[in-house]
């Protein structure tokens, strides 16, 4: 195969649509994607902090922003992404401490993180929107 000669030694197979990652692998990607998304939210939160800290007018402006539709959408998206990132992060910390190295347990903790994330998304969604 031409690909093999180019790469030198081993065959390269990188068809992303056909590679099937283990659940922990999917979670790892999710951790990275949510992490990058959260960076984008940083300036908006610092801006919110600035509003809160700039007197009575600024404070009520910040509250109005948070209670408006765009604010609620932004807040819920950020909270959901943060929950998912935190849960997969806690799982990473657990793995650092040697918990769930075992393949089957790793799969279970990955699934637990997804289930817990979904549950917390529903709870916070209700809290923000109702």
């Amino acid at each position: 195969m031409a690909n093999m000669k180019k790469a030198g030694l081993r065959p390269v197979f990188l068809n992303l649509l056909q590679i099937r990652l283990p659940h922990g692998g999917v979670l790892s990607i999710v951790h990275r994607v949510t992490g990058v998304l959260l960076v984008l939210a940083i300036p908006l939160f610092i801006y919110l902090l600035q509003l809160l800290n700039s007197g009575t007018d600024g404070f009520s402006q910040a509250l109005a922003l948070l209670h408006g539709l765009p604010g609620k959408i932004f807040l819920s998206l950020t909270v959901w992404v943060l929950i998912q990132h935190s849960l997969s992060g806690i799982r990473h910390l657990m793995m650092d401490m040697g918990i769930s190295y075992d393949k089957n347990i790793a799969r279970k903790t990955a699934d637990t993180v997804f289930a817990l994330g979904l549950l917390m998304v529903i709870v916070t969604g209700v809290a923000i929107w109702l």
Binding site: G35, V36, L38, I42, I46, N53, S86, G89, L93, D96
Partner: protein
Amino acid sequence: MAVGMSERGSLHSGLGEWVVQRLTAVYMLFFIVIALIRLSISPVSTHADWLLLSSGLLFQIALLLFIFSLLAHAWLGLKSVFLDYIHPWRLRFLLLMVVALFVFATGVWALLIVIT
């Protein structure tokens, strides 16, 4: 002594980053949990509530530490993502410089907000 045998050299910097990434994560989790408990005990609904909370020295230090942890965590996280997926080194360097500028500017901005 051969390089890399007992002296860890510049490669050692990765271990420090690994520790910082985890310490900042643990601090941020801790801060968020404490903040949520505090806000559910006494919610901030008026400007007076906010003044009472935000004028405390302990809160200011904890908040600044949170923001700096966040920025350090973001910098290290983006760095590992770029190292893995952006291979042309000029582009990677450029992106890392943009992130460094962003982190620095945001840090100064937050510092000014909290101390003034």
